[in-house]
């Protein structure tokens, strides 16, 4: 009789229960892949900030977001593959009565820090997003929450998480692929993240930013070794997605070259990072035309280090933190020597990529680099150098460009380029949401001022 066949509807090849750490590890992979991949279907931010140009197919560098389901790819990977696993990991942890309070708190905090980072990517990409009603499979039509409200909630959650961290307890161990359970480093990472997130609201809510940064600044990264990075390995599928898409071992495609917009100023400054980042053509670094077709053979491409499958994926690094500190000082949020932090940021970036301290010093000594003599105000100086330092980190670079409004980037014009192109300052909602969650989507679109790539987010004041 059927009633005795209890195992018939059970999947005997899949786990009914798992430990929280395995979900946590997986979500780290999901998040870093979403940020790192250069796949045209997922992540075209390197094109928006004009580090790279396309060779043959020009849709993405001309900001077509509908020919492929690009917005959906990010939306789906963050909600379904990252935040859902983190939420589940928390659920499992909370149900675990055998774990010591200290360890549980640490692990919850680790999850929370990563989750805040993931949410910040969503909210700073799309604007209003499902948040309070998200992650509930029983509610197929979650309402969208106001982006600013979401953002402030994230800031609160990050603060709460930092309070949970304690170095007496253990966190996730080997499954913590970033720090292998080093709670002190997590505290630095959390504070560095707080610094990053707080700067975003510096234009709209300087007072709040000041409070947050004052608290965070003393506890941020202090060396390259502090970085939060994902240790990609040589074996697919845990290899760097850049290698997956651009390394000749894994793909014969020749879709990208470096732009002249990016390479020309580096050439002018004799940037020591070029040899790590680019190939040469006829012994020189040569960039292609941004926004137009380029002959692959004629221009510099990503260098061997960039397409190395084991190149680590960066959530956050020291150089970025130093740039932020410099900016915070300039904004009067904290006190200190902006030039010093600016120099440390550049030095950190150059040494990270294999240059020596001398290389960095020589580079910084150039009048066009030196903080005192470089062109423009702090936004321009920091924006320009941060743009280099965030090479190969398209999404982060895109946020900084929107925030600092430097360097001045122009959309392709003339020739075959359609008239009126605008570099996206927001990504449109996934097309599937038009049918999956239409009413809430409509409300949200109206609330943010139109579901367009030209709609500025709430914090993007200038």
């Amino acid at each position: 009789c059927v009633d005795s066949l209890d195992d018939y509807n059970v999947d005997t090849k899949k786990a009914p229960t798992v430990t929280a750490v395995t979900l946590f590890s997986n979500s780290l992979k999901g998040l870093i892949d979403a940020l790192v991949t250069p796949n045209v279907n997922n992540n075209n931010y390197r094109l928006y900030v004009q580090q790279w140009a396309e060779t043959t197919y020009l849709d993405e560098q001309r900001y077509n977001l509908t020919a492929r389901a690009i917005p959906q790819a990010l939306w789906q990977s963050l909600y379904r593959d990252v935040i859902s696993d983190l939420t589940e990991a928390k659920k499992i942890l909370n149900a675990n009565t055998l774990l010591s309070a200290e360890s549980k708190n640490n692990q919850l905090a680790q999850i929370e820090i990563v989750e805040v980072l993931a949410w910040s990517v969503l909210v700073n990409t799309f604007g209003d997003i499902p948040y309070t009603q998200a992650m509930d499979p029983l509610n197929p039509l979650p309402k969208f929450d106001d982006a600013k409200t979401v953002y402030y909630s994230l800031l609160d959650r990050l603060d709460a998480a930092l309070l949970l961290l304690n170095t007496t307890g253990t966190g996730f161990g080997a499954g913590d692929l970033i720090y292998k359970g080093d709670i002190a480093k997590w505290r630095k990472f959390g504070n560095s993240l707080k610094l990053r997130l707080a700067l975003v609201i510096a234009d709209s809510d300087a007072a709040k930013a000041k409070t947050l940064i004052a608290a965070a600044a003393p506890n941020v990264f202090t060396a390259n070794a502090d970085k939060a990075a994902f240790p990609y390995v040589a074996t697919p599928p845990n290899y760097n997605p850049v290698a997956q898409n651009l390394n000749p071992t894994y793909s014969t495609r020749q879709d990208y070259v470096i732009t002249s917009v990016f390479i020309d100023p580096m050439n002018e400054l004799n940037d020591p990072r070029r040899q790590q980042w680019f190939t040469t053509v006829g012994g020189v670094y040569k960039g292609g035309a941004y926004g137009f077709a380029n002959t692959y053979a004629d221009f510099s491409k990503v260098g061997t280090k960039i397409v190395d499958p084991t190149l680590e994926g960066i959530f956050m690094d020291y150089s970025e933190v130093e740039f932020s500190l410099a900016e915070a000082i300039e904004r009067g949020l904290i006190t200190g020597d902006a030039a010093d932090h600016y120099n440390k940021a550049i030095t950190a970036s150059i040494t990270y990529w294999g240059g020596s301290a001398t290389d960095a010093a020589t580079y910084i000594a150039q009048p066009k680099v030196a903080y005192a003599t470089a062109t423009g105000d702090y936004k321009q100086k920091i924006g320009f150098q941060k743009w280099f330092a965030l090479y190969n980190r398209g999404w982060e670079s895109w946020v900084e460009w929107r925030r600092l409004d430097y360097p001045k980037l122009l959309p392709p014009t003339g020739g075959s380029a359609p008239a009126g192109l605008q570099i996206p300052v927001r990504i449109i909602y996934p097309i599937v949401e038009q049918t999956l969650n239409p009413t809430n989507l409509k409300t949200a679109s109206a609330a943010i001022g139109g579901d367009l790539a030209s709609t500025k987010l709430w914090w993007d004041k200038f």
């Binding site: 059927v2 009633d3 395995t22 492929r68 003339g414 075959s416 599937v432 049918t435």
Partner: protein, 1076 residues
């Protein structure tokens, strides 16, 4: 005065007929024939004997002075009087049926020797939608009375001799939704057509409910040939067919421009001095105009080519992609032996089919064995067994969809018209290397996007085997004259093995994929059959039974990781990186059912039929795993009314029924489990799955009403069967798509209703019937209207598939501008960007191209046909018979990814030639300076050339004035007026899928019986000339066969999508048949 009379009763073919009933008219005396077909009887001269036997026409004979009276009974060809096999193998006279059932004879099926049984049914059945793929041995979509399940299985259930058999499609979901994959066909194509006596299709729930859950999509009942007692018969068929592609279903190209995205050449010296170089690294035909100038082309880079380092004329390729397709050859040989003794029958059959497809390096070999036998142990107990075994070996089956291994991805979407297929062939065969037309660089180290198509076929082919074992053993015991008992155990098992490869040197990462699957299902049926006359005029037939079904599926799919270490070695261990864990599946399903059927017949005038079944399934939560469903039906045979007897009306019957069928959940949709992605180093990963299961599911239900009228006139010269039906499938168990903001992309729910309403008509007429000549016409007509009535909560759209090109296939409700539901839409509607309209006129944007709607969720097509029709004409003159079938599909839409990309890449005639001003479309619209830059007027606007090229699309501009802006069409990267490059509304690439096809035709000649008899050895010799897919009489899709789908299944919706479509194969040949 009585005297003794003896005789023998035979069938037309000479075989003896035991058990024929002989009645002396006007008396209650009679007899039956014995096992040798002989009878003896004592009668008076002048009396009339009535010979009747099921399946044969009743015949009367007047007793003269003779003492021996031999009678040959004619097969009952009447379509309304025939005996049909219904659910669970019950035999019923058509008169008794209360539901629609349509029979197809062996002759109709095998006339054109189609090796695929499913395809052979096309056009021959009303209410059945058969979509044939143009792939060799590929899958066929068989849907009866419309799509009922939103995400589940919609395929008809196949039953052989009362036993359900697998019709699994083991193609990947990616393949079924237009991505890369191989079409391995579905398992019903393994059924041996030569083993079939007849096929009966039970269309509605009332007819099929006794089969339980799986029969809600209708049942195709196959009755195999049986041996006859005291006879021996051998049939041999031998035939060959040849196939060639029907060029009207293949791409036709523009003839003026070659490889490239822009109209200029690059310069380099490849050996004969600095000169023009074809853009070998691009895969489009938006390049320079053919002018015969010397150009370094792809072969100038191939060291082994005679053209190495040489320039060749820039001209249109002499041999286009159509010449890639070869002549297919299918040889089909079969032998069938059948016969029996006094108490036993047997049949043994073997069919061998060898097919080579139209694609280079493709073949399909089938070995089909059939055995069946029965033995009467004593008068009460009969035992019987059948065994069917098939072995299918495929090599180089068709890769389908958007896939570098599908040559049509190239030929229809990304192809340079300057590349000659014959030269590609020579280049490959010179040393079996990947000499592509699409080099990544001038050194020719490797391809960039596309491989040499011959290299693909000969190196990157798949191979597969499918062993199908199916058999049953049964015993029937006659308990009393009015009741017998049957016990039957049956087994249906398949073992599939598939291997796919990408060789070292290909554009894609080298790999080897292996898939092994083992499936079996056992059924144990216990049945009591009752047949009793309750009182005079009222007879009862009944069935009481139980079914225990257990199925087991186990499969593994594994692939190499990161490349192949050693070239040409295809094993998992040859992986460059350690392989990822195989996808391992074990699924077990158990269903127990009990059922009863009672039918009462009053004088053959009225029939009442009641049935009920209760199932208990393991796939549902234990608390709600039992579900019951009833059916009721009645008929009224008004032609049996005394006042209508002996009239022009041969048969008239009205029938009506109502039925419900319950259905269980898909396996594994109740309990949640975790996915296990490949961990990093020693750190394991787990992840929540993408679909959230639901522990509160209950059974889903199909409710159907049906009414029908059957009539035959003028001695069966003319007749029809008209059925109207309405089916609702409620509480559907579906993994409804949800926003990923829920943490999942789908969730199982018990919700949604889909409705099908339709009319189906089958009719026949014999306009001419003389001794020597007859003409018969059979007509089938199907009209189904499908509607999604409700979905899930406030959800108004369930996405079935998201397809490349930015279109989706959906089950959707119709909403007004405010998002309020105002009705239901047909299943499978295509969504994408539409045209924007102003006062009914299409709006053209500032770039001269039709402006797409802001939303890509607009409904732009409905794949469901308005109606289907099939007309078979059979003309017989003496021993010559001509038969042909015209198959019609009216309406329905298809989005063509082929046109979407191919027009963008400049392949099709519309992208070249002259515009309405007589200027080449690919000429500049605007003036340029000598530096190539546009000249601007004072206002900064581009200045139109005196003789502008480009395309002027009819429509209006944003302000409502007639369009005067010409769309530029000069550059495949971005300035193309058509296809993907233009980002035109997707609605522009939705086509009407109607067709009228001459599907089958055959001329056969049977040697006259007298002549055959003289040979002594033979009973029948016939020769036929046959053809399939001979002519597409009409279609609206220019360059493809609108019927060619991607696969069978639901995941591509109702088939509204084509990507890398294969051309139709037109085949013709002959067959010789001997019977002795």
């Amino acid at each position: 005065q009585d005297r003794s009379l003896t005789g023998k009763v035979t069938a037309e073919d000479g075989s003896v007929l035991p058990g024929v009933n002989i009645a002396v008219k006007g008396t209650n005396r009679g007899s039956t024939t014995d096992a040798k077909g002989e009878y003896s009887l004592s009668v008076s001269q002048g009396s009339t004997l009535v010979f009747s036997f099921i399946g044969f026409q009743t015949q009367e004979a007047v007793v003269g002075s003779q003492s021996v009276l031999n009678v040959s009974l004619k097969n009952d060809v009447s379509q309304l009087q025939e005996v049909v096999v219904t659910a669970l193998g019950q035999e019923k006279k058509r008169n008794e049926l209360v539901y629609a059932a349509q029979q197809v004879s062996a002759e109709q099926l095998t006339q054109t020797r189609n090796p695929n049984l499913m395809n052979a049914l096309s056009g021959k059945l009303a209410g059945v939608d058969i979509k044939v793929s143009n792939t060799m041995g590929g899958s066929t979509n068989v849907v009866i009375r419309g799509f009922k399940s939103i995400t589940g299985n919609n395929q008809a259930l196949w039953v052989i001799d009362g036993v359900p058999v697998s019709n699994a499609n083991n193609n990947t979901t990616t393949q079924q939704t237009g991505g890369a994959g191989v079409d391995y066909g579905n398992a019903a194509s393994d059924i041996n057509p030569d083993n079939i006596a007849s096929i009966n299709v039970l269309k509605g729930a009332a007819a099929s409910a006794l089969y339980g859950s799986r029969a809600s999509n209708g049942v195709i009942m196959v009755t195999t040939k049986k041996g006859r007692k005291n006879s021996f018969d051998v049939t041999v068929n031998s035939g060959v067919t040849w196939g060639k592609i029907d060029k009207s279903t293949f791409a036709r190209y523009q003839t003026e421009y070659g490889q490239g995205y822009v109209s200029t050449f690059k310069q380099a010296n490849l050996g004969a001095g600095l000169g023009d170089v074809a853009p070998y690294d691009v895969d489009a035909s938006f390049g320079p105009k053919f002018d015969g100038r010397p150009v370094y082309q792809w072969d100038a880079i191939d060291k082994f080519s005679p053209n190495f380092g040489k320039q060749t004329p820039w001209v249109k390729a002499e041999n286009g992609p159509a010449s890639f397709y070869e002549t297919a050859v299918t040889s089909n040989q079969s032998i069938a032996l059948s016969g029996g003794g006094d108490a036993s029958t047997f049949k043994i059959g073997y069919t061998r089919s060898d097919e080579t497809g139209v694609l280079p390096n493709s073949s399909l070999k089938k070995n089909l064995f059939n055995f069946g036998g029965s033995y009467d142990l004593n008068k009460k107990l009969t035992v019987a067994a059948t065994v069917n075994f098939s072995n299918i070996k495929g090599n180089g089956r068709n890769n389908t969809g958007y896939n570098g291994k599908n040559p049509n991805q190239g030929f229809r979407q990304w192809w340079p018209l300057s590349v000659d297929i014959a030269q590609q062939k020579e280049a490959y065969f010179r040393n079996q290397q990947n000499v592509t037309w699409n080099w990544a660089n001038i050194q020719g180290t490797n391809p960039i996007f596309a491989d040499n198509p011959y290299y693909t076929r000969y190196k990157n082919f798949s191979n597969d085997t499918r062993d199908h074992y199916q058999g049953s053993a049964s015993a029937t015991y006659k308990i009393a004259s009015w009741v017998d008992f049957t016990g039957r155990f049956s087994y249906d098992g398949t073992i599939d093995a598939q291997e796919e490869r990408i060789s070292v040197g290909s554009a894609a990462v080298p790999s080897y994929i292996r898939f092994d699957r083992n499936f079996h299902e056992t059924n144990l049926d216990l049945l009591f059959n009752f047949r009793k006359e309750i009182t005079k005029g009222i007879s009862f037939t009944g069935l009481l039974g139980s079914n225990m079904r257990r199925s087991y599926e186990s499969s593994m799919r594994a692939s190499t990781n990161g490349g192949l270490a050693v070239p040409n070695l295809y094993s998992l261990s040859n992986s460059v990186s350690a392989i990822e864990a195989p996808t391992e599946i074990v699924r077990k399903i158990g269903v127990d059912g009990i059922f009863a059927n009672a039918s009462f017949d009053y004088k053959g005038l009225v029939n009442l039929d009641l049935a009920a079944r209760q199932d208990k399934s393991t796939t549902l939560p234990k608390s709600s795993n039992t579900y019951f469903y009833p059916s009721v039906g009645a008929n009224f045979v008004f032609s049996e009314l005394p006042m209508l007897k002996n009239n022009w009306l041969t048969l008239g019957k009205l029938r009506a029924n109502y039925a419900e069928v319950g259905n269980d959940a898909p396996w594994g949709s109740i309990y949640d489990v975790y996915d296990k992605p490949t961990g990093i180093g020693t750190v394991p990963y787990f992840s929540l799955p993408n679909t959230k299961n639901n522990a509160n599911l209950k059974s889903e239900r199909t409710k159907s009403y049906e009414i029908g009228i059957e009539a035959a006139f003028l001695n069966d010269r003319l007749g029809f069967d008209v059925t109207g039906y309405k089916t609702s499938t409620l509480d559907q168990i579906l993994p409804v798509s949800v926003t990923s903001a829920t943490g999942f992309t789908a969730r199982y729910v018990n919700s949604g209703e889909m409705q099908n309403k339709g009319i189906e008509v089958s009719a026949y007429i014999t306009p001419i019937k003389t001794e020597d000549f007859s003409w018969t016409m059979n007509v089938n007509y199907t009209r189904n209207r499908n509607k999604v009535v409700s979905l899930y909560g406030d959800v108004t759209n369930v996405q079935i598939a998201s397809l490349q090109g930015g279109v989706t296939i959906n089950a959707a409700l119709e909403t007004n501008a405010d998002g309020k539901v105002i009705g239901g839409l047909p299943f499978g509607v295509i969504r994408g960007t539409n045209f924007t309209y102003m006062n009914g006129q299409k709006v053209v944007g500032t770039n001269g191209i039709y402006k797409p709607s802001a939303s890509s969720g607009e409904i732009i097509g409905n794949p469901n046909p308005d109606w289907l029709g099939g007309v078979t004409n059979t003309l017989k003159y003496k021993s010559i018979a001509l038969s042909f079938l015209v198959d019609i599909r009216q309406g329905g839409n298809i989005f063509s990814l082929d046109q979407w990309y191919g027009e963008g890449s400049g392949l099709y005639p519309i992208t070249a030639g002259l515009n309405e001003l007589g200027i080449p479309k690919r000429d500049d619209v605007y003036q340029r300076g000598s530096d190539g830059k546009y000249l601007l007027d004072a206002a900064g606007k581009k200045i139109q050339a005196a003789n502008p090229g480009g395309v002027l699309f009819p429509g209006v501009q944003a302000d409502g004035s007639p369009n005067t802006v010409r769309a530029e069409n000069i550059d495949g990267n971005s300035l193309s007026a058509y296809g993907y490059t233009s980002n035109a509304p997707r609605a522009m690439y939705v086509y009407d899928a109607s067709y009228v096809k001459l599907r089958e035709a055959s001329i056969s000649y049977s040697l006259p019986q007298a002549l055959v008899n003289k040979t002594r050895a033979f009973k029948e010799i016939s020769v036929s000339v046959i053809g399939r897919n001979l002519w597409i009489i009409h279609k609206n899709m220019k360059y493809s066969d609108p019927e060619d789908g991607l696969s069978s299944g639901t995941s591509n919706g109702a088939g509204g999508y084509q990507s890398g479509a294969y051309p139709t194969v037109r085949s013709y040949g002959f067959n010789v048949k001997f019977r002795f």
